[in-house]
């Protein structure tokens, strides 16, 4: 079971959109995941427990040791599939 942390400004709005899309995509591809959401400000204290960090905007405010994917395309709809594939790829490693 892979663990994904989705972070956005308030841990509510855009992260819910992204988290839902990741869950659906992983289910289609048979990847077992738990997806949790948080605020960007909390990322550093939480990231250690996860395999992948997905942010909805640019995350430049700190350092984490896990892979980070920026998923703004899941909000704009432009390049959405490519980003989802990249996430699945990362989780299959």
């Amino acid at each position: 079971m892979k663990r994904v942390l989705v972070a956005c400004g308030n841990g509510i709005a855009t992260s819910t959109v992204v988290a839902t899309k990741i869950r659906e995509k992983c289910e289609e591809n048979g990847v077992a995941v738990t997806v949790n959401q948080c605020k960007l400000l909390e990322v550093e204290s939480k990231a250690d427990d996860y395999d992948l960090l997905v942010t909805t905007g640019k995350f430049t405010g700190g350092t984490v040791t896990i892979p980070v994917i920026t998923a703004i395309s899941l909000l704009t709809g432009i390049g959405e599939e490519a980003t989802l594939d990249q996430i699945v790829e990362e989780l299959k490693k």
């Binding site: 956005c8 400004g9 960007l40 905007g57 909000l75 704009t76």
Partner: protein
């Protein structure tokens, strides 16, 4: 006829948790969402509302008496509870006229796009609540649906134009092209920040000031973590209420609970609205295919910037101190301290990360929010009670809704002496629009 009237009354009497599923199902069906999915969306919103009600109940019963005791002990008169933007959004979505407002706002966006007077395609239906709440409050005060819808339309026009004008900031400072942020919680600060930044740049000496704070996160990081903020906040209020040690600690944990649970409940709302938002997005993107549009997104995408975070971590504790001494303020800032990042994001971009100016501007913005929050609390509390939030005798507000400077001004214009206030408002908007159009697209970035 009588039977319809009876059914309608039963639903109205049952309150928001029953009305929300019905209204949202209908909105979903209109957008072409399948019945089963639309109903699940609606039910999820009803659940979200019930959940928020539970958390607010916990909040008012634990911090309400403590805030009262604090008033008696020290004369710190902060008796209006900040229940957070999510709670106010819940009240907004539970209003009987919400469906009408959603379509009015969407129609405003489409018409402006067709007339080419905006480039922002805003299908972030969720954030329509910032525009809708003003219309709902105006309707609640005036009992006039036309005025309510008009107020939301004005909010929409102002939101889309401010988004257009700030898009260069989003591109240049935050490095995200092709996107604008029609989220009033972030945009509202601009009308304070733009003139204030202009003034600060022209005061000799002051315009040279800047400093940087190393390790702001190391020492102030706890102000960015809702649960730690809630715990400390609860304990301090408990101490000021002269509670026993056990009571102080209990209040701390309770407040931490509220801070963590409110966003969880609010995300149920977001989840419920997603199918409808998606349907609206598909519909609009097909309509305007081929045109170079700015896609309107939630301001959440820019608040991860390190300058925004540093500014917020400093502004949050200063705002709490300011609340105690700001003349006329009665708001006890709490739940929305977690989203100060949104309020300072665009000012930070405007000053290009000058921390000195950011803190000054940030404090002006939060001060304006506290004062507008105090002024609009009675009417907001009455509205929230009517749609079914159980508040007891407590007054509520947030850092969103009518507390936002732009929203407050438009709300005031629509509930004042209409013959004077509405023309003044339209003139002001027109003048700013004219000024911005003359300065050209890059003006915000340079100003």
């Amino acid at each position: 006829m009588q039977i319809f009237y009876n059914i309608f009354n039963v639903i109205l009497d049952a309150g928001a948790t029953v009305m929300l599923p019905i209204i949202i199902t209908i909105v979903g069906l209109i957008f072409g969402v399948k019945l089963g999915k639309a109903f699940r969306s609606g039910l999820m919103l009803g659940i979200g509302f019930a959940g928020i009600n539970l958390v607010i109940n916990m909040m008012k019963s634990s911090i309400g008496p403590a805030a009262q005791a604090m008033v008696e002990n020290f004369g710190i008169h902060l008796d209006i509870l900040d229940v957070g933007w999510g709670s106010i959004a819940a009240v907004t979505w539970a209003s009987p006229i919400i469906a009408l407002l959603i379509f009015a706002i969407l129609a405003t966006n489409i018409i402006m796009l067709v007339l080419k007077i905006t480039d922002t395609l805003d299908v972030d239906i969720w954030n329509y609540h910032h525009m809708a709440i003003v219309g709902i409050l105006v309707y609640y005060v005036t009992k006039n649906v036309f005025l309510g819808v008009s107020a939301s339309i004005v909010m929409a026009v102002v939101s889309f134009k401010l988004s257009d004008w700030t898009a260069p900031l989003v591109e240049d400072f935050f490095g995200i092209p092709g996107v604008s942020l029609p989220t009033m919680s972030a945009l509202s600060s601009v009308i304070i920040a733009a003139p204030l930044n202009w003034i600060l740049d022209r005061i000799p000496g002051v315009n040279k000031l800047d400093f940087s704070v190393k390790d702001a996160k190391k020492y102030l990081g706890i102000f960015g973590e809702p649960m730690m903020l809630g715990l400390i906040f609860g304990c301090v209020i408990g101490a000021l209420a002269r509670y026993s040690v056990a009571e102080i600690l209990t209040l701390g944990v309770n407040m931490a609970t509220v801070m963590v649970l409110i966003p969880k409940m609010t995300s149920l709302f977001m989840e419920g609205l997603m199918p409808i938002s998606d349907a609206a997005k598909k519909f609009c993107q097909e309509k305007f295919k081929g045109r170079n549009l700015l896609i309107g997104l939630d301001a959440a995408i820019v608040v991860g910037n390190p300058d925004v975070i540093t500014t917020s971590l400093i502004v949050i504790p200063l705002t709490i101190l300011m609340a105690a001494i700001l003349p006329g303020n009665r708001v006890l800032p709490f739940a929305d301290l977690a989203v100060v990042t949104f309020r300072v994001a665009l000012p930070v971009a405007m000053t290009k990360g000058n921390l000195f100016k950011n803190i000054i501007i940030g404090l002006f913005c939060t001060a304006a929010i506290l004062l507008a929050g105090t002024a609009t609390s009675p009417i907001l509390t009455a509205l929230a009670t009517e749609v079914g939030l159980d508040l007891g005798s407590n007054m509520i507000t947030s850092f969103a809704g009518p507390s936002l400077t732009v929203s407050y001004l438009i709300y005031t214009a629509f509930t004042g002496n209409l013959l004077i206030s509405v023309p003044v408002m339209l003139l002001a908007i027109g003048a700013i629009w004219f000024f911005m159009a003359r300065k050209g697209r890059q003006s915000m970035a340079k100003a």
